[in-house]
Symmetry: C2
Subunit: 284 residues, 2 copies
Amino acid sequence: MRTVLIETAYDGSGFHGWQIQPGVRTVQEELEQALSFICGEPIRVQGSSRTDAGVHAYGQAASFTGNFGIPAERIPVAVNRLLSDIRVGKAEEKPEGFHARYNAVGKTYLYRVSFTDIPDIFMRNYCYRLNKRLNTGNMEEAATYLIGTHDFNAFRSSGGQRLRTTVRTVCGLSVSETTGREGRAPIAAGGADPGRTEWTFRITGDGFLYNMVRIIVGVLVEVGLGRRKPEDMKDILDSGDRSRAGHTAPAGGLYLERVYFSEAEMDRSKGAPVGTRSDIGKTS
Amino acid sequence: MRTVLIETAYDGSGFHGWQIQPGVRTVQEELEQALSFICGEPIRVQGSSRTDAGVHAYGQAASFTGNFGIPAERIPVAVNRLLSDIRVGKAEEKPEGFHARYNAVGKTYLYRVSFTDIPDIFMRNYCYRLNKRLNTGNMEEAATYLIGTHDFNAFRSSGGQRLRTTVRTVCGLSVSETTGREGRAPIAAGGADPGRTEWTFRITGDGFLYNMVRIIVGVLVEVGLGRRKPEDMKDILDSGDRSRAGHTAPAGGLYLERVYFSEAEMDRSKGAPVGTRSDIGKTS
């Protein structure tokens, strides 16, 4: 019995999330169908994260087992021929018993927020658009309160799986601000849209509660808009009370960037600032 | 009887083109439904261009008539509430008899080509992705042969409407090359993808034959890849023979940027280099 780990990217806007559900298009089902076809046997994949409807991935991980003959390194090219809005980046053989969810030691998520004067229909499924600018310094300050090991109960939606604990470790949370050029709209203006500003939040941790990143971003945005003070983040965290945390940022701004299977890999990741508060905002 | 002109943008990836067809989703039908709702009477819109399935617009124009009461300036806000991947940017009253197609004196189209090492699934419907780099100087040289008034019969697909003439005037065709940052993929790499290069072709003319821009881009790309010489463009043009011109570039890379209703407007347009060969490649 072989075990293979794949890394996959997908545009979540065409899917009702990762997990198979009857009657709707899901990433898991499309991947399983394509992998079953190239492996010549029914394949069931286990994803590291069950991303919600509309959430994107640059680096979701998934594992599967079977007695198929195709060498791991040939899987991406073969399977990508059958896929359009999902792409398998790499595949590698793993020891028996390896599982993409249980062996994951951490993940990095990105969240994209944009300010534009005019809504950009081309970005409607890919970022959280605001019609006001955010104060980056205040958001960076608020973010520092989340770094470390805390009970994140205030930052989770009900409806997730049953949990033994709501304690998680956030080892990095950076905020980066960029202005100008962007993928779609600016082309209309000849390659640059000076009115556009984008904030990218990058958060790395050992695990995330249901909707945790989107609820954290919801608070950060409220801080950025001046509706809350940076210190409010600490009060919300300490309260353990979801109702204090405010709105859940929309799914389309969220991207699962990477899943880690060793601490060393997580530490090395350029995308993930690690540990100390002084790292905040220094990444990318 | 009032006549109103609207300017509209749409993400063509969810539509089977502009023109109403039974059983499929079209831009014209969605717009007509939304406008009929806010006007309180059945509205039929006339578009300046019948964009094909998958083709996008930043500035399609459309006109409609009726006895509705809503002031023109309130139409965008009202109608945009009913739309998702279409957006009405502005609306203005026009004299009776005005028609978005018959009164148009010119248009600007953009075409986006990208080189990336790895296909970017997030851009699959928005640019023509190549796995080789293009020679920009050679494409600029080839483009110069198209400027001016010519019989563009070699650059049209059959299947368009019946025509009195295939003579058209191209008053600007620029090629711009940009490297690096882009809308989607680069975020994964922390905001910059140094491996990415994009070429934007911007073409302005008094009118375009069916598939003319996409066939021109097909030849320009072949020149850029070194498969044809820049001078071949002239031979193809002179031949009037479609079979000499090669492939039609995919729909997803094409954007209707703007429609002009006066020569002055077309000349003023920053996006559209006008007239002389020396303008080529100098724009944006």
